[in-house]
Amino acid sequence: MKLLKNASAGTDNREDLRVTVSPAESDIQITIRSSVGALFGAHIEAAAREILSDYQISACNMEIDDRSALDYVVRARVETAIRRALEV
């Protein structure tokens, strides 16, 4: 599937994150800024890639600004942003 537009989801609150996605040409680029990046950066990226894969998206630019959100929150926000970007 191809992303149709830019979209974002989430908040700047503690224990939450903001995700922004935008269409890209050929591959997946994920940039993560996180207050717990050294500890969980890899997990956050893995979760994001999993959800992109679930939605069969092979090209997108994603930016994540994380404030120590739990895994279920990361996944919810990423999925929301993707769904929004798939809507016309």
Binding site: T11, E15, L70, Y72, A76, R83, R84
Partner: protein, 281 residues
């Protein structure tokens, strides 16, 4: 349930901690707590939260009202997680329950769900209050009525006060309807977060009127509500005595029994059993 705590469906912190807020039940709110442009985000957050957090408390979800474009999508995302109950806001009549039930039954079949989800009807309009008894009996799934005084007083063109006589009739009507239908009934939340004394007074009044329990919008109200709705030491002791004396009478083959000069008849025995059940004995 002595208390039901409302948790906003878009608050990551409160969703994560819902197990530890001290309430018997939690209602995750997808309706008033969530802005229209965040309904989609809240749905997914709540879905993920329920999956990840293994809530130990009794769990309900307040979906959006039937006159919105959100409620069906709410059900589609949330129902497969088998919450204990769905709370339907602005329930005005029997038709509302039937429409909800039809949609829920369809989804339950689609997802192959075994357990039937229950409903709590939130009555917050004059029409809802008047139709309370019919709503209570509209479906086996309806397990309780719940009074929403803020929207109700607006609908009544009344003035909402702490003293609350403007909702007295509605409170009594709901209690009467629910008890007649054999289901539970929950009182409206107390909205002044800081006024714990006022909250306790309001909760005691609700208990006095016959409510099963009371909703709250802030965890700091739970203790006061519990105090009002938990039986006192004296009530528990008395109830124990009542049951003991009845058991003794049955063993010895006596008929009528009395305790401290008062005849112990069926209603008193039923109340004693209810008290001990509330006390978890």
């Amino acid at each position: 349930m002595r208390n039901i705590l409302f948790v906003p469906g878009n608050s990551t912190k409160m969703l994560t901690n819902a197990n530890f807020l001290g309430s018997d039940a939690v209602v995750i709110d997808l309706e008033d707590a969530v802005a229209p442009n965040e309904k989609d985000a809240a749905r997914l957050l709540v879905r993920n939260a329920i999956r990840a957090l293994h809530y130990q408390v009794k769990l309900g979800v307040r979906i959006n009202a039937l006159d919105t474009c959100y409620w069906q999508q709410d059900l589609k995302e949330i129902l497969p997680l088998a919450p204990d109950f769905i709370m339907l806001p602005k329930t005005a009549d029997v038709d509302s329950i039937h429409v909800l039930e039809q949609e829920v039954a369809k989804l339950e079949k689609q997802y192959g769900m075994e357990k039937e989800v229950k409903f709590i009807a939130l009555l917050e309009t004059a029409k809802g209050v008047e139709n309370a008894y019919a709503i209570a009996r509209a479906s086996k799934r309806v397990e309780a009525l719940f009074l929403g005084a803020e929207d109700l007083t607006a609908n009544l063109c009344a003035v909402r006060t702490k003293e609350s006589s403007e909702i007295l009739y509605s409170r009594c009507r709901l209690v009467s309807a629910a008890r007649a239908a054999g289901i539970d009934v929950y009182d409206t939340p107390f909205t002044d977060v800081e006024d714990i004394c006022g909250l306790e007074k309001d909760a005691r009044l609700a208990r006095q009127l016959g409510f099963t329990g009371k909703a709250s919008i802030n965890p700091c109200h739970i203790e006061g509500i519990n105090r009002a709705f938990s039986p006192s030491e004296e009530e528990i002791a008395y109830s124990r005595e009542v049951l003991e004396i009845i058991e003794k009478a049955e063993r010895e083959g006596h008929g009528a029994v009395s305790l401290r000069g008062k005849m112990i008849d069926a209603p008193i025995m039923a109340r004693a059993k209810y008290i001990l059940k509330l006390a978890g004995i």
